[in-house]
Amino acid sequence: MSVLQKLLTINPRYVYLVVAVAVIFPMVWDLRLPTVTSPPVEMLYKEIESLPPQSRIILSMDYDPSTVPELHPMSAALLRQCFAKGIRVFGMTLNIQGQSLGVEIMDRIAKEFNIPNDGSQYVFVGFRPGPVIIQIGEDIIETFQTDFQKRDLRSLPMMVGVKNLDQFELCISLSGTSVGYSWIATPGTRYRKKIAVGVTGILVSNFYPYLQSGQLVGMLGGLKGAAEYENLIQHEDKAKQGMGSQSAAHILIILLIIAGNIIYFVQRRQAESK
């Protein structure tokens, strides 16, 4: 077997080891490079910046633990911006496993800003099954009735005067699935609410048509999107921490693709010349 053939059939564990080094080393070294903001992220940031204090927005954390590294930093960054501006956040989730994640992040970020859990600045209602996304457009109080701590929604200060989506300025869905389309289709189309999404990297390219058509007012895409948002709110956290490793990983993949193709073309030429 030639050297090239041996390289191609190398034990994959060596490749895994190289991947591990590429991810761990920049993290240990804390490699940080300047972050350039992309237009969809900037659009969402400006949209929230334009909201007056005491505005209400819906933040729907429609994700589960498998997408936490990408979407949890987005939740944190959005909550920090909203709490700093005095924007009131209605937290919910359309994913049953998002309930525990949502309550954790909302309480944690609220503590950073010394915001009490009394329903004045934020409310987390958790998960409700079924076509909730339709029902909140008609009567959000009837749909959820109580918050996560079983308090009557009507008794909470930020829910006074709230009946449905008309009292909310913006709906943001963070999801690793196609739930974002449902937000665009129902609250976005039927109730003409402004919609923004935060999605995992895999779905980013699919949502660009909705940005171009104006059906989305902004989009955060993957870990980079979260890092860009942290950069904009000037509070670097987990997303920015991970970008050094992300850079190294991408360079590694590019080099592996190039190396694999070089070996392939050299072998092909050798075979043809024989």
Binding site: L8, P12, V15, Y16, V18, V19, V23, R32, L33, P34, V36, S38, P39, D64, P65, S66, V68, P69, Q97, Q99, S100, L101, V103, E104, D107, P129, G130, P131, V132, I134, Q135, E138, D139, E142, T143, F148, Q149, G201, V204, S205, N206, P209, L211, Q212, G221, G222, K224, M243, Q246, S247, H250, I251, I253, I254, L256, I257, A259, G260, N261, Y264
Partner: protein, 217 residues
């Protein structure tokens, strides 16, 4: 026979057409109360599907234990963790500072996240062994992938920033990536999305009209 095969199709048709019509009826009772109650009805009906799923997983693992099939011991682990989580939630509650939440953060989150993170290693291995620029189309795909991979991390714009030759601006990798995503990618994604939407519409109409009956089993 009518009640077994035809009447379910009639039910599907009536409900399907009713809810298409409700979109055009702007009466507040239809738009609010009827939709709300219908949504709650759908939720209650859907809950019973969980029973089927639970039965399926329980039966599968019980048979594994009973017949001592390979790795039967782990079926006990599955049942133990299932019961523990269920009882913690039912007895001690599901709030933020409960044992249920503790188990979720200590067990479910790391397991779920790590399972999916293994894919990064397999992707690296596949990049080396399988991704070949064998044709014009695959070369184009790989080039677009490389540009996006460089443009969507911090090191890309750092290594290849926007620059200029004289008065002529030269786009850096970040600008090229933005353009790729906003124009060719949007165009193709829109075309594919339109195709999917039309296909979904056709399938939904076929189901409502009773032409597509596979969901009846």
């Amino acid at each position: 026979m009518f009640w077994q095969r035809q009447f379910p199709l009639v039910v599907c048709f009536v409900l399907g057409v009713s809810f298409i019509i409700q979109f055009f009826v702007k009466h507040p009772v239809i738009q609010s109360d009827v939709i709300n109650e219908a949504a709650n009805f759908a939720t209650i009906i859907g809950i019973f599907a969980l029973v089927l799923g639970l039965y399926s997983i329980t039966r599968m693992h019980w048979m594994k234990i009973r017949h001592r099939r390979k790795d039967w011991f782990f079926s006990y682990v599955l049942f133990a963790s299932l019961l523990l989580m269920t009882l913690l939630g039912w007895i001690l509650g599901v709030g933020n500072d409960t044992p249920f939440q503790w188990m979720y953060m200590a067990v479910m989150v790391p397991l779920s996240s790590t399972m999916f993170s293994l894919l990064a290693f397999y992707m690296a291995s596949a990049s080396f062994r399988a991704f070949r620029a064998k044709s014009f189309e695959s070369t184009l795909l790989l080039l677009a992938a490389i540009v996006v991979m460089l443009g969507r991390v911090d090191i890309g714009p750092y290594m290849f920033p926007d620059t200029s030759i004289g008065n002529m601006p030269i786009w850096g990798v970040d600008e090229i990536t933005n353009w790729l995503l906003e124009i060719p990618n949007t165009a193709a994604s829109r075309g594919i999305g339109l195709g999917i939407a039309l296909g979904t519409l056709a399938t939904s109409l076929k189901m409502i009209l009773g032409i597509e009956r596979s969901y009846l089993g």
